[in-house]
Symmetry: C2
Subunit: 198 residues, 2 copies
């Protein structure tokens, strides 16, 4: 139906490599794009080009933005002495959607993993340590994922910063709207141990 | 974290409008693209541009390709008097993956629907009728979806072509690998009624 070096086939192949898409959904997306050429295909081509031209990692915190130093690091109001450490940019964005933290962030870019050969130098940890003094940080919130790798990394960072800043981590417990019947034993244990007076 | 008129935010908004993606998966895709700038982001920008510049509907059958008349309609070996009628381009591609049909196709572009105001003229049905004589069609295979709308449309087309060509439709029955316990009653009934000697 379609030749091997066809532009449509080439686009399907690329789309199928995006996370969460496979060959089937890539075909669906591409047909939809072709059908909505004016509203979607051309704007998407321009938008991707604009991101390719402008997106960059913040040299300070690792966030993704369109300038060398991101808006969060530029903002004076966020220089309140608090630094929230997250694994990935997506975690930073999730924290910002919650809009509960008003300080600055530090994106590690993953977790420590002896198996995958990921050490502190691969993880923007030296830069984190530099920032403590450079930005007069007084409290570091370790907002790493509640996974084994995330918690191992949190412990490593806590060891490095011990005595230099106040350290905290996100509370563990029952998620809002969560039903006990669907929670794992670890979460229930953590919630029970951290129970509060009613 | 990100300004309203930021190119990254604009790309996430567009991506979230693709079928099967939402805001969450769009953010994931965009972060992945930025991380894989050389391997994925720039090639994707080029590929989308190429499709925007070249993709078009075949004037004859409605397939999507890169020329005014698609390869299938151009191919002389496919002028075997058989014409397979499908609802959408994705159905044509699915048929071609099965590689079982060697004739030509006709893409209706949907199904008849009184409710949505879709009549025969919206559906490339006049063009289908023209093609019967113009391409010496002897058999029309109605490969419409086994839905109410698909079957209504198949019956309408059958009425129009009655007496002019041989008409057939895809067999209905148990899908290969299908388990009876997971099939609906309609499929089991159709399979029983069309049972074959073992």
């Amino acid at each position: 139906m379609i030749r091997r070096n066809d532009p449509i086939e080439a686009l399907i192949d690329l789309m199928a490599r995006l996370p969460g898409l496979g060959p089937r959904s890539a075909r669906r997306v591409v047909l939809h794009l072709i059908r909505k050429r004016a509203q979607l295909l051309r704007p998407l081509a321009d938008a991707i080009q604009a991101v390719a031209d402008s997106a960059q990692e913040c040299l300070n915190c690792g966030n993704v933005g369109t300038s060398k130093i991101c808006d969060l690091c530029e903002s004076e109001s966020r220089a309140n002495g608090m630094l929230c450490v997250v694994e990935e940019v997506s975690d930073l964005w999730a924290m910002e959607r919650a809009a509960v933290f008003k300080g600055r962030y530090h994106v590690l870019g993953g977790t420590l993993s002896a198996l995958d050969g990921v050490g502190p130098d691969e993880l923007r940890i030296p830069r984190l340590i530099d920032r403590i003094d450079a930005e007069n940080i007084t409290e570091v919130v370790l907002a790493l994922n509640a996974t084994i790798d995330g918690q191992t990394t949190a412990h490593y960072i806590a060891d490095q910063l011990e005595g230099r800043v106040a350290l905290s981590s996100l509370a563990q417990g029952v998620p809002i709207g969560g039903e006990l019947d669907y929670l794992d034993e670890g979460t229930i244990t953590a919630a029970m141990n951290a129970r509060k007076r009613f």
